[in-house]
């Protein structure tokens, strides 16, 4: 069942959602700029195009949404990746196992030493293991010590402007100084 979307006439792609499934809302950070009436907002109420989120296919005037669904281009990329990785693996096995003399007789003389066929995988595995240890260590090193000013405040909090509170409006978001926070938590709970 296809529903008429709002003015822009959005249609689902082949293999996409055709009147079924929950509405995926890509790019939630950009607010809806067009105010649509509630009756018109259907499953595919889409914000206007922004350069980061949307590819507008100018030829057809339809919009391609950023969705993880299978598309013909993606299938092609995947197959190319599959073929090249299989080819790379077979080439690696040939290089590692076929004796040097056979390769020379075929005319392939300028290939790297077979030492590297063993050395590179070992290097890679050790790098991965050290990566775990290194990440843990870097995290601990970049934690501020207890006497650091960064545990209390930072440049943003120091430079923030204090807006006047409007009547009956939610106050603006701001960084509360730690002395006030402490008084609220620990002194008034008597």
């Amino acid at each position: 069942m296809r529903r008429q979307g709002p003015v822009l006439g959005v249609e689902a792609q082949a293999g996409g959602r055709l009147g079924a499934g929950p509405p995926i809302r890509p790019c939630p950070f950009f607010p809806v700029l067009i105010e649509a009436k509630p009756a018109e907002l259907g499953w595919r109420s889409v914000p206007p195009p922004t350069p980061h989120c949307r590819n507008i296919s100018k030829a057809t005037g339809k919009m391609v949404e950023n969705s993880p669904s299978p598309l013909p281009e993606r299938a092609i990329y995947g197959f190319v990746l599959f073929l090249s990785s299989q080819f790379g693996f077979i080439l690696y096995l040939v290089w590692a196992f076929v004796p040097e003399s056979w390769l020379n007789s075929l005319g392939l003389t300028y290939w790297p030493q077979k030492y590297w066929a063993v050395a590179l995988p070992v290097y890679l595995l050790i790098t991965i293991v050290i990566g775990y240890v290194l990440l843990f260590g870097i995290n601990m090193m970049s934690t501020s010590p207890l006497d650091s000013i960064h545990n209390i405040t930072d440049n943003y909090a120091k430079n923030q402007q204090h807006k006047k509170d409007q009547e009956e409006a939610i106050p603006a978001l701001r960084d509360i100084p730690i002395s006030e926070v402490n008084q609220m938590f620990f002194l008034e709970a008597k």
């Binding site: 601990m140 934690t143 501020s144 207890l146 006497d147 650091s148 000013i149 545990n151 209390i152 405040t153 120091k158 100084p177 730690i178 002395s179 402490n182 008084q183 620990f186 002194l187």
Partner: protein
């Protein structure tokens, strides 16, 4: 606990708390006057179990080396290392109790007493103290509460120039920190009232 007259706060108070690792701490509070207060936090003593564990490990390792090298100097060296290590640990590392003394018009003094009797003192005058707060921070793999003194920035009136954490080796939990915090805030409020009124 000494008994004062009716309506006065207790002169001396001793309560038991625990630190972040679960060891027992004793908080001893001495109230000298409305403008002067002292807190003394005693850390757990060095336990016989950990001492024997470390000694046995070192001596077993030395014996293992001795069986490899057949040199008896290793054994006497191990005994020396254990003794000197223990003395150095007691003198430089192991803190027996920490004291916080607040005098309203004068300043805040922190004293750390090591197990060998050595004391190290830090004094901050009241003109530099902005506030005493409880802050949360990441320490090793935990998030802990700790008490710290904020120092004023000479350049900026509302800025903070430095953070001085206190009770660093005892590391008590939040219930103990709230006690100390409330008493400190009473004294600081007293001091602010005294300084603003001429």
């Amino acid at each position: 606990m000494a008994g004062p007259g009716a309506g006065e706060p207790a002169m001396e108070d001793e309560r038991s708390f625990s630190d972040i690792c679960g060891g027992r701490l004793a908080l001893h509070r001495r109230y000298y006057s409305p403008s002067c207060l002292e807190f003394c936090l005693s850390c757990p003593r060095i336990s016989l179990r950990s001492l024997t564990a470390v000694t046995c490990t070192v001596w077993l390792a030395a014996y293992g080396l001795f069986t490899l090298c057949e040199n008896s100097m290793i054994l006497s060296a191990a005994i020396f290392i254990t003794l000197l290590g223990l003395l150095g640990y007691l003198h430089f590392v192991k803190i027996d109790h920490e004291t916080l003394l607040i005098i309203d018009s004068l300043g805040i003094q922190m004293t750390s007493s090591y197990a060998s009797g050595k004391e190290s003192t830090t004094f901050i005058e009241m003109g530099k103290v902005k506030d005493v707060i409880i802050n949360e921070a990441i320490y090793m793999q935990k998030v802990i509460y700790y008490l710290c003194i904020l120092l004023k920035d000479p350049v900026e009136p509302h800025g903070i120039s430095q953070v001085v954490p206190i009770f660093q080796s005892a590391k008590p939990r939040l219930d103990c920190l709230i006690e100390v915090y409330r008493s400190c805030q009473e004294i600081l409020a007293h001091q602010k009232a005294a300084s603003t009124s001429p």
